[in-house]
Amino acid sequence: MAEPELSLQALRLATLPEFDPPARLWERIEAVHQQRRRRQRLAQWGMGVAAVLALATVLLVPRHDLASSDSRALAQLENRSRELEQTYADLSQTASAADSEVELRAVEFALQQAYDRGATLNELLPLWQQRNEVLVSLIAQAADGAQLTRI
């Protein structure tokens, strides 16, 4: 005959006591829940602010950087232009002015007009670039002329 199966009931232990939680436990749980919700809201608010800041960074900073980059490029072109101008002035003392100076004056006129109408960096940059190229060309011509003179 098979041995009867053991169980709590067989051991007369089936009547286990029940327990009531402490009376104030719900108040504690509610307080913790409120605290967590406040933290969550604060975290969400923080994440929202961070998202706005990130968006602002994406939208504004690159433009600012771009503007700064263009300003730096313009300053470099102006400095380069002054150097070329000085070089050309030094050379032109020993060589006659070439016809190309007409082109230089035309570029300078366009630049002046651009400044007068408050042109943007995007308009100014190619004009300064053009002025420098004309100056390089003039310097090259002047240098050739100086060499010819020395010969």
């Binding site: 169980s7 709590l8 009931q9 067989a10 051991l11 939680p21 436990l25």
Partner: protein, 199 residues
């Protein structure tokens, strides 16, 4: 601590009305309080039986109801609400045992080898059912309570512990024999009755 002997089945079988559930899903605090009023006792009782400590059982109830308030939107009503809440309670109790490193031993042999064998009890102790339960290894106590009191099948226990069905059967059998030994000083006095087995 209030101890009231009642029927073996816990109050997780109580039903909750659809309106309270709907309000609770919307985050209505009074509905949460109503659910607590209905289920706090079975939740606390289960935690006490498994963990044996009022402070730890309070922590379990707190975690369960905090989880309930956050997760009730995900309750789809596939199973009775009480069953869903019981599952939350069992999981929280297991987490507590894990945090106390009481549930590490998985081998049934080693589980009971480490349990203190204090020999047979005197007659007065035999009436202290909770005292007897607490003398079992925590994992064995958990399996015993879930199977014998909360009606978990061995298949459900196997899924819960990630083990085979024979694993919980082995631990349950050893637990009951250990209880029998403690109750019967000369291993002869216990009257055993057949009990339908849940597979």
């Amino acid at each position: 601590m209030n101890m009231n002997p009642t029927e073996a089945r816990s109050g997780f079988a109580q039903e909750v009305d659809a309106l309270t559930l709907a309000r609770a899903r919307r985050g209505d605090v009074s509905a949460h309080a109503a659910l607590y009023k209905l289920y706090a006792r079975p939740c606390y009782t289960l935690a006490m039986r498994v963990l044996g400590s009022s402070a730890t059982a309070e922590d379990v109830v707190q975690e369960v109801f905090l989880k309930l308030m956050d997760a009730i939107r995900q309750y789809r009503g596939d199973a009775p609400f009480g069953a869903w809440l019981k599952r939350l309670t069992v999981n929280a109790a297991i987490d507590q045992l894990r945090s106390q490193r009481h549930i590490d031993l998985e081998d049934p042999e080693r589980l009971f080898a480490n349990a203190v064998d204090t020999g047979a009890l005197v007659a007065a102790d035999a009436h202290d059912v909770m005292g007897l339960l607490q003398r079992l290894p925590p994992r064995a106590r958990l399996i015993l309570v879930l199977h014998e009191v909360e009606g978990y099948t061995h298949k459900e226990l196997a899924e819960l512990f990630g083990q085979t069905e024979s694993y919980s059967k082995s631990i349950l059998s050893r637990s009951l024999r250990r209880l029998q030994e403690w109750l019967t000083p000369n291993t002869s006095a216990v009257e055993l009755q057949p009990w339908p087995s849940r597979s």
